[in-house]
């Protein structure tokens, strides 16, 4: 830019953006008061916006660049209006005004007018914001807003088609927006400052290409560029016609504007160094790519348009195709670098022209729809009589789009054509020669298309009976279309207005050579060569039309796989399925983890129980020497029973002694007590010897594997030993006198005990008992020697044993409690309670309890010993590590 001169700031760009935005807030309020008031208000606002934009013209003409700044987001919003921005802003405001005027009548059969008008004004503000933005952040902000708000235009009718189209539009816009975001970010990585100015030349090539690709893609989605145009043919037809006119005529130009700035501002070299050929290398290659995208877009778009029967859909495909023209122009400009004036002028002039005629065409088709409620070209016909003004205006617009001389499309198409030819002549690349041929054929296709539209809809015969409701469109609609048609003709006759007024100063500002445009105006405008190429195009168009109508070519259905849309659908569905699979796999993984955790918990619980049992068992083995359950129980039981018997023997002796003393009439307390005590001690001695002998016999029997027999029969066996009580008593009483006399009676008592033992032969009785009981073979091994093996084998059975052991060989809780109570009462009421109680209680409960306490103490001491041992080991280890 040569703009080193001081910048000129003005509030007008801010006003033009803020005015519709602020007005949008007022729309619902006014709508609630009165619809007419609101309608007047929105038309007034768009007119005001147009006036504000127009007011920028002198300032831009004088200063070339008008700037404005709003502090706020990310260092503020910046606006800058140069000639090109002004061009976009002017036609946007103009078409917007026409469309808004038109919408008042059109919307009569639609719903939610307030929403439409709010959307309308916000979109206008966003559009103006996009084209006036001075930096990429501001541009992105308004671009996103425009894209998202336009969603409400597309979905406005809320039919199923509209919803489907809107959702597709929305996602494409969002993806495009993110591509754009990425592209803008990357321009920062390339050293850009965010301004719409040439990026520094350094930076890796791949990064430059990625940035350029993302920017072109992001803007291209909006612009309806192939192959990301797929939303456009769905979205534009379903919107209300005035909105279609805006979508197709103006909003997609935001994308074109972006690509224009990308190619001719961001990636071109600095103005100061524009003479060096190699500096243009990148933008030249980028231009080539865009040129070919344009050629591809224009040709496929027109082919698809020819296959449509819905008039609005056909126009939508033409929007795609015409965007191809624009891209071709911009691409050629990029390719030509410093000499790209023709391409820029052609592309941008076509932007302007397309806005005018495409908006007019959509409005015209909308007028037809309002009256006939049909959009199918093959069902309409002969409307020129009923709607002559509409017909005339539509014909002007069709002449514009097909490039009839003296209509605006002619100039821009010729400029683009010259640009392509110029590009071809630069390096004589053969492919560009082909591109030029495709261009002419595409112009032919366009001509055919509009011959078809005008011919089928307005000429020919009426194919259906129309009532009186099919008449000329309302005046306001005609006025809107008339405004556009007037502009079409004006620009067709006097293209100098735009070329001299806008392009030449604008190009000069960017350091490009505008002389070639003057050359065009003087030498080529309406020259024979250009007109003849239009004639060729129309000849092609007429031929295709004739052939197509005759052969039914226009009704051909292409296979699915041709449509890029179909592939997108497949790809999206596949991606969705992949994510679903990931999500499911993750769920399955979670379930697996939680189940595994539960398994681990269960396993831990099992192991813990097992370890605990083994531990108890190991203690039992270590302390008692026997691990087999029955053996333990037998010994425990025998011990209790024999102990009871021992006490009974002592008691019998004491009772006898008391009886003897009573009969002898002893009354002296000391004497009495001394005798009884002597008898007790003697009896206790003998009884203990007997107990030991019997216990030894029992242990022998158990060791030989007769535990079960012992357990079952021990009580009967002991009952047989009652005669021993008499012997004990007799021996004790006999020895008592000597004892009192102080003589040693131990030997006598021992002899008596031995005699009693040999008398009763407890061991023999036991052995006999065992012989009578059938003993299973394997039981025989259950000796102390086999204990560890048994212990291991018995682990499983031992499960229940822990619980049962308390009851085994002892008493039930109920009986225990009853015994204890009885004993307590006994002790309280009995004479000399204290003395008798501590030694003479032969109750099973007491003995069993005493035994349990002993066992517990033994277990605990073992535990303590283990802990202590471990501590010792630990301390030892510590000591050694020191």
């Amino acid at each position: 830019m040569h703009g080193e001169s001081e910048t000129y700031t003005s509030l007008l760009p801010i006003v033009s953006v803020a005015l519709p935005l602020a007005a949008a807030a007022a729309v619902p309020v006014l709508g609630r008061i009165r619809a007419g008031l609101r309608n007047a208000f929105v038309v007034g606002v768009t007119a005001a916006a147009l006036i504000v934009v127009a007011a920028l013209v002198p300032a831009v003409a004088e200063h070339h660049r008008v700037e404005a700044h709003v502090p706020g987001l990310m260092g503020g919003l910046s606006f800058a209006v140069d000639s090109f921005s002004l061009l976009f802003a002017l036609f946007a405001a103009f078409v917007w005004f026409a469309s808004t005027l038109y919408s008042l009548d059109y919307l009569a059969h639609e719903h939610k007018h307030d929403r439409y008008h709010v959307t309308n004004l916000v979109a206008l503000a966003s559009m103006l914001g996009v084209v006036m933005a001075a930096d990429l952040v501001t541009l992105y902000l308004f671009f996103e807003a425009l894209g998202l708000v336009a969603f409400l235009f597309v979905i406005h009718t809320e039919t199923d088609d509209a919803k489907r189209a809107a959702v597709k539009y929305f996602w494409m816009t969002v993806i495009g927006g993110f591509a754009l975001f990425g592209g803008i970010m990357l321009t920062f990585a390339l050293g850009g400052t965010g301004a719409l100015a040439p990026l520094p030349a350094e930076g890796a090539a791949w990064l430059r290409w990625t940035a350029a690709a993302l920017l072109v893609l992001g803007f291209g989605v909006k612009a309806g560029m192939q192959p990301v145009h797929v939303w456009l043919p769905d979205a534009h037809p379903v919107a209300p016609s005035p909105a279609s006119a805006l979508l197709s005529g103006v909003m997609i130009k935001a994308g074109a504007y972006g690509i224009f700035r990308t190619v001719t501002a961001l990636f071109r070299p600095e103005v100061a160094e524009h003479l060096e050929e190699h500096a243009w290398a990148f933008s030249s290659q980028l231009g080539m790519v865009v040129l070919w995208i344009g050629i591809f877009t224009m040709s496929t778009g027109v082919c698809m348009a020819l296959l449509q029967s819905n008039a609005k859909r056909m126009l939508a495909y033409h929007s795609v195709s015409q965007m191809g023209f624009i891209l071709a122009g911009i691409g050629a400009a990029g390719y030509l670098g410093a000499h790209g004036a023709m391409g820029i002028a052609g592309g941008l002039f076509h932007v302007l022209n397309h806005a005018l005629f495409k908006a007019c065409l959509f409005l015209g088709v909308g007028a037809v729809y309002v009256r006939t409620h049909s959009l199918d070209m093959y069902h309409l016909g002969g409307l020129w009589k009923r709607m002559p003004v509409t017909f005339a205006l539509m014909t002007i617009a069709a002449a514009g789009i097909t490039g009839v001389p003296l209509f605006n499309g002619f100039v821009s198409k010729c400029l683009i054509h010259h640009a392509i030819v110029e590009a071809w002549e630069l390096h004589e690349v053969a492919a560009l020669g082909i591109a030029e041929k495709i261009y002419i054929v595409t112009c032919g296709g366009t001509a055919c298309s509009f011959i078809k539209l005008i011919g089928l809809v307005f000429l020919g015969k009426e194919k259906t009976e129309y009532g009186p409701e099919v008449r000329e469109a309302p005046a306001r609609m005609l006025a809107a279309m008339g405004l556009l048609a007037a502009a079409i003709v004006t620009l067709g006759v006097r293209p100098q207005i735009v070329i001299r007024g806008i392009f030449e100063p604008g190009l000069h500002l960017w350091g490009l050579h505008p002389d070639i445009l003057e050359e065009y105006l003087s030498d080529y405008f309406l020259s024979r060569g250009d007109i003849s190429s239009v004639v060729v195009a129309f000849a092609i168009g007429a031929t295709v039309f004739t052939v197509g109508m005759k052969t039914g070519l226009f009704h051909a259905h292409l296979p699915n796989w041709v449509s890029i849309d179909w592939w997108y659908g497949k790809a999206v569905r596949a991606l969705w399925r992949v994510t679903e699979l990931i999500a499911r796999a993750y769920e399955r993984y979670l379930r697996f983890v939680s189940e595994s955790l539960e398994d681990v918990r269960d396993a831990y619980e099992r192991v813990r129980v097992r370890v605990e049992r083994t531990y108890r068992r190991a203690i039992a083995v270590a302390t008692a020497g026997v691990a087999e359950r029955d053996a333990q129980r037998a010994i425990a039981r025998a011990e209790v029973v024999l102990d009871v018997e021992r006490h009974e023997e002592v008691r019998t002796a004491v009772d006898r002694a008391i009886a003897t003393l009573a009969s002898a009439g002893v009354v002296d307390e000391a004497e009495w007590r001394e005798s009884v005590e002597a008898v007790r001690e003697s009896a206790a001695y003998v009884a203990h010897r007997l107990f030991a002998v019997r216990m030894a016999a029992v242990q022998d029997a158990v060791r030989q594997g007769h535990a079960r027999a012992v357990l079952e029969r021990i009580e009967g066996l002991v009952a047989d030993t009652i005669p021993a009580r008499d012997r004990v008593a007799a021996a004790a009483i006999a020895a008592a006198a000597d004892r009192r006399a102080g003589r040693d009676v131990a030997r006598r008592l021992a002899a008596a005990a031995n005699a009693a033992a040999s008398e009763e032969r407890f061991d023999l009785k036991l052995r006999a008992l065992a012989r009578r009981t059938a003993v299973p073979g394997e039981r025989l091994v259950a000796g102390a020697e086999g204990a560890p093996v048994q212990a291991l084998r018995g682990l499983e059975q031992a499960a229940g044993a822990v619980g049962r052991r308390a009851a085994a060989g002892s008493v039930t809780w109920g009986r225990w409690f009853a015994d204890m109570v009885r004993l307590a009462v006994d002790a309280l009421v009995r004479e000399r309670a204290g003395r008798v109680f501590d030694t003479a209680s032969s109750e099973e409960s007491v003995l069993a309890t005493r035994r349990a306490i002993t066992r517990y103490a033994r277990d605990m001491s073992f535990n303590v010993a283990v802990v202590a041992g471990m501590l010792l080991v630990f301390v030892a280890a510590l000591a050694r590590s020191r």
Binding site: G72, A166, V174, F181, F188, L207
Partner: protein
């Protein structure tokens, strides 16, 4: 510049005010409802004012440092506020105030309110404490209190699901907390009990020991920050908890983990040392994976709160990514995203709570036509969703913009794809909800339901007010980024401090 003693009281007061409020709430069982509400609202506003003044003081350059209790001759319980902590504390106080007001409406017919309010206020105290911690020990104390004493809030509804989620929560959090404890003990062993400020470690410490400490810290805080292999508790805890607590859980509590990571990266290790260690590349990879993976999972959740919970995991991935890039711009983005995300996600959870409470539906597929019945809620949800995706000029855009700039500046350009992919996926999991609410025909209303009588189920103003405030904040955080008191500028200042 030291601050005068006359303002230093604000620092402990900001911690103790909600603490006192919580204790009072615990004994408020027999109070009239109005009195309890008035008290808690006053306490919460006071806390916000205090946190705001502390923030103002700190941004003005004051050194706010208060020593509270001497634990050992070397170690104090010590509050010291830097820009990061002040911003975090103020954001927490703001979000808690909104959630509290929302609770008044939302919790009105719930049980055991005094327990709820007590722990709710206490959790604010702990959060502010974490934010204002002056050394690692203080940090640990508040962090653990905060982690453990929020358990009653997670299980508040006492349904079997809530209890199961609570168990999961406490197990995850305790394991994470133990790792943090271990790491902090190790740090004391290696570097002593210095204050948070300049990095504690220098290159003289053996590399292997540094690595052990770092990974302990990261694993510990990663549990809280929901970094992907450690995120398991988040998607269960959120749907189980009451909506206002979900809002702070998502908005601030998960962010506490990232706050911890920031402290570790910027204050314990320091940027230069970590760059030498080279571990942050791994962390960045993990964070990037978190962003994408959680977003993919979120797409397929039908329970709206669960979907939002996964969204939180994804967004916290952004924050961790921003930290891990070790770049001042990325760190700015990370810090400011914590504040932005708090209010965005808070608003989304407020909406989800209203939908659950007023329409009685939890699943996304049942939301068709909700916009007709709850227009304000639907509008708030739509706007906040756009903000979450990063639509300019709303809050989410600011943080993503700075993250993007940071990614480029750090030269790891591939993460741009993650940044954009995550945002796109956010659109995929949030916008269909909006679409359903606005453009699907609602299911016929069952006769006899409260809806059938009024036709609208929009929430009362007490609940809409905090929602509206959160949405306005979301917009304001996007628009006001240039004044010096805006979170972005504070975050910038904080980040510059760390990279000096």
């Amino acid at each position: 510049m030291g601050a005068g003693a006359e303002v230093l009281w604000m620092v402990p007061a900001a911690v103790f005010a909600p603490l006192a409020g919580g204790v009072a709430a615990a004994f408020s069982g027999s109070w009239p409802e109005a009195r309890r509400r008035a008290l808690l609202a006053v306490v919460s506003v006071v806390t916000l004012v205090l946190a705001g003044s502390v923030l103002a003081r700190v941004t003005a350059g004051d050194d706010m440092s208060v020593r509270l209790v001497k634990m050992t001759p070397q170690v104090w319980i010590h509050l010291r506020v830097d820009a990061l902590g002040a911003l975090y504390g103020a954001a927490a106080a703001g979000l808690w105030l909104l959630a509290l007001v929302y609770s008044f409406g939302y919790m009105a017919d719930e049980h055991r309110l005094s327990r709820y309010y007590a722990f709710f206020m206490l959790s604010l105290a702990w959060t502010v404490g974490v934010a204002y911690s002056g050394n690692l020990l203080t940090f640990l104390v508040f962090y653990e209190l905060f982690s453990i004493l929020t358990y009653p809030l997670v299980v508040h509804e006492e349904t079997p699901e809530a209890l199961a989620a609570g168990t999961k929560y406490i197990v995850y959090i305790l394991i994470g907390g133990s790792l943090v404890l271990l790491a902090i003990v190790y740090t004391y062993f290696l570097a002593g009990g210095q204050d948070i400020g300049a990095p504690l470690f220098d290159a003289s410490v053996p590399r292997s020991q540094l690595l052990v400490v770092f990974w302990c810290f990261l694993a510990g805080f990663g549990v809280k920050a929901a970094l992907v292999p450690l995120h398991g508790w988040v998607p269960d805890a959120h749907p189980a908890a009451p909506a206002p607590f979900s809002a702070v859980l998502s908005g601030m509590m998960v962010a506490t983990g990232t706050f911890g990571i920031m402290r570790v990266v910027f204050n314990v290790f320091g940027v230069r040392l970590l760059a030498e260690l080279g571990v942050m590349r791994v962390v960045a990879g993990l964070a990037a994976f978190t962003v994408v993976f959680a977003a993919v999972l979120a797409m397929h959740q039908d329970d709206i709160k669960r979907r939002l919970a996964y969204s939180t995991i994804s967004q916290m991935g952004y924050v961790t990514l921003g930290i891990a890039l070790l770049d001042p711009l990325a760190a700015t983005g990370a810090i400011v995203h914590v504040a932005n995300h708090a209010f965005m996600k808070g608003a989304l959870f407020f909406c989800a709570g209203l939908i659950i409470k007023r329409m009685g539906v939890r699943s996304v597929s049942e939301l068709a036509g909700a916009a007709k019945r709850m227009p304000v809620t639907a509008a708030a949800f739509a706007l906040t969703s756009l903000a979450m995706i990063g639509t300019p000029p709303l809050a989410g855009f600011v943080s993503k913009w700075y993250l993007g700039l940071g990614i480029l500046e750090s030269g790891q350009v591939a993460y741009i794809a993650v940044l954009i992919g995550g945002a796109l996926l956010a659109g995929v999991y949030l916008l269909p909800i909006v679409y359903r609410m606005y453009f699907r025909e609602p299911a016929p209303i069952a006769a006899g339901s409260p809806l059938a009588e009024s036709g609208s189920s929009e929430a009362p103003a007490t609940m809409l007010m905090p929602l509206a405030a959160a949405v306005l904040l979301t917009v304001a955080l996007g628009l006001c980024t240039t004044p010096s008191w805006s979170p972005l500028q504070i975050a910038k200042a904080a980040a510059e401090g760390f990279f000096r």
